[in-house]
């Protein structure tokens, strides 16, 4: 056994990037051959002109352009403006893939998260032999970060995928009710779907059963509570997290975390100061 062979499937093909650091005002022209362009302004202001459309982008804003063959995008940037532009081609439809919807322009919620990814993209591109797969994965992460901003959505619009809307409804229901006795049939009844259809829809979108989703949510909460309420009995924490039967809770916890609740608590022992940090600790 010598390792893992991965077939790489890229839904987008990165075809180049431009990074303009803060400097004097100027113009940049990018020629596009039937591809898309993602632009993010880190500092200052930028005016992007593509054909008849003009976009004025202040710092923290991003925009997408789709261009036919031979079209150019011209950037007029002010002094001190710093921006990134990523070019990519869209590959033909891939099966079983998730959709990501995003606006043509928008403000980014966490510009530093996006800047961090874009900088890595530029660094990879500058390597002597950049890895196409690294670039592709970074590009998608950039788009996800942008889609998470208002106006975009990772849950593609119901018109695009009704199943995704159903799965999100299930997630929301589980998040609100996991402390109570809850099973997949209850959720189906509440959401007015047949249990079988709901199950198939959820599995298609999330890859796990509704039951597993409830367990995962509960166990995640139990892990946090085991560390936050150190003096509380495991059976009480089980009850808080929606498990009436403590033995059943132990079995599910062990299956998910690969250790017993008490073992999990004991290896995560320490002062109260560490607790916050430990919430991010988990065990393989």
């Amino acid at each position: 056994m010598s390792g893992l062979e991965l077939g790489l499937a890229c839904a987008l093909e990165p075809t180049g990037a431009l990074f303009v650091p803060a400097g004097p005002a100027g113009n940049q022209t990018l020629r596009l051959h039937d591809c898309c362009l993602f632009v993010f302004v880190a500092h200052g202001e930028l005016e992007a002109v593509s054909g008849r459309s003009e976009k004025r982008l202040p710092a923290g804003h991003a925009a997408l352009f789709q261009c036919d063959a031979g079209r150019a995008v011209v950037f007029h940037h002010d002094a001190g403006a710093e921006f990134y532009a990523l070019k990519f081609k869209v590959s033909p439809h891939l099966p079983r893939a998730r959709h990501l919807a995003m606006p043509a322009r928008g403000k980014v919620d966490y510009p530093e998260r996006l800047t961090d990814l874009l900088r890595r993209y530029v660094m990879e591109q500058r390597r002597r032999r950049p890895s196409l797969w690294a670039l592709y994965n970074l590009l998608v992460l950039v788009l996800c970060e942008y889609a998470a901003a208002p106006g975009g959505s990772l849950e593609a619009k119901p018109a695009c995928s009704g199943l995704e809307a159903i799965a999100s409804m299930v997630d929301a229901y589980v998040a609100a009710h996991y402390r109570e006795p809850l099973c997949a049939n209850d959720i189906a009844r509440e959401l007015h779907y047949s249990p079988g259809y709901l199950e198939r829809a959820y599995r298609r979108e999330r890859g796990i059963s509704v039951r597993s989703a409830i367990h995962l949510r509960r166990i995640r909460e139990a892990r946090a509570q085991l560390l936050l309420q150190r003096e509380v009995l495991v059976s009480e924490i089980a009850a808080q997290c929606g498990y009436g039967d403590a033995a059943y809770f132990r079995r599910v916890f062990k299956r998910t975390t690969h250790m017993t609740p008490l073992h999990f608590r004991s290896i995560n022992s320490g002062s109260a100061d560490d607790l916050r940090a430990r919430e991010y600790t988990s065990v393989g």
Partner: protein, 284 residues
């Protein structure tokens, strides 16, 4: 396909990976990895110490800055008790076949990581987003994609530690010596001319040799080494202020450090810290 008829862009995104969950394991100082069979792949990145596992009949050993891949459906477990200083990141994922692969990525069983700090930061991002509930499946899948690139690409890069390093050493012993000198002395106030003095060669000659093999100036390599050290300290040493970190990384002038950090990472040291210090663990 992308469509922008209603002002929205829609992309279909996948890399054939389904990310499950991830975490950071901190050695409890005793105990052994449980023997178990899991139904997914697992990527382990040893950040500190060393890890000894078996899978079926194969013995596996990974040291700090190495990754390890485990396979689904195979029995694995600890071969030796956990080393007291062991820290490792882990992530479970599934690989979906039938996506129409564009290329293959080979991830060795045990691999040297070309940029351990980069991989650590990707894991931090994964874990912290997972814990705060904002990790969407698309981002998760592509973060794992990036991690696998890091685990799979070490051999092709000049900076890899074993095979590639030996090869580089043969091809460019002097460039390699300069890098090793920088790695040892970056905390001191070194410059290209001080390095040239210590090597008893002319600065121009060293510069030419180095640039031919690394595509960057000696000064830039010094900065990169210092900024990498600063990234580690910003992530892990929450008590140090930015000025102290600047001094500890060889910068006498904190203002200059801030400028260089911003130029090389795109973020101010403070923003970088707020982005990555959440998974910080200060126990054991």
């Amino acid at each position: 396909m992308a469509s922008s008829s209603d002002g929205q862009f829609r992309f279909t995104l996948t890399n054939g990976i389904e990310a499950l969950n991830g975490g950071l394991f901190v050695s409890p100082g005793s105990g052994t990895h449980p023997t178990r069979v899991i139904d997914s792949h697992e990527l382990i990145f040893v950040a500190q110490g060393s890890l000894d596992l078996f899978e079926e009949k194969e013995n596996l050993h990974a040291e700090a800055n190495q990754t390890l891949v485990l396979f689904p459906g195979k029995r694995h477990g600890g071969r030796l008790p956990y080393a007291p200083d062991l820290n490792f990141y882990w992530v479970h994922f599934r690989i979906h076949e039938g996506l129409g692969a564009h290329a293959t990525l080979h991830v060795p069983r045990v691999a040297d990581v070309r940029d351990p700090e980069f991989l650590t930061e990707m894991f931090c991002r994964f874990i912290s987003d997972q814990e705060s509930g904002i990790l969407d499946p698309v981002s998760a899948a592509h973060l794992v994609g990036l991690m696998l690139v890091e685990a799979g690409s070490a051999e092709r890069d000049w900076t890899s530690r074993t095979a590639a390093r030996a090869r580089a050493q043969q091809q460019a012993p002097l460039a390699h010596e300069i890098q090793a000198y920088i790695d040892r002395n970056f905390k001191e106030p070194i410059t290209t001319s001080s390095i040239a003095r210590d090597f008893r060669r002319s600065a121009d000659y060293l510069e030419r040799v180095f640039r031919r093999h690394r595509d960057m100036s000696i000064l830039m390599a010094v900065h990169l080494r210092r900024i990498t050290a600063a990234r580690v300290m910003l992530r892990t040493e929450g008590r140090k202020n930015i000025n102290e970190i600047a001094f500890a990384c060889g910068y006498g002038d904190p203002g200059y450090f801030r400028r260089m950090f911003k130029r090389l990472t795109g973020l101010s040291p403070r923003k970088f810290r707020s982005l990555y210090s959440r998974t910080h663990i200060n126990a054991h």
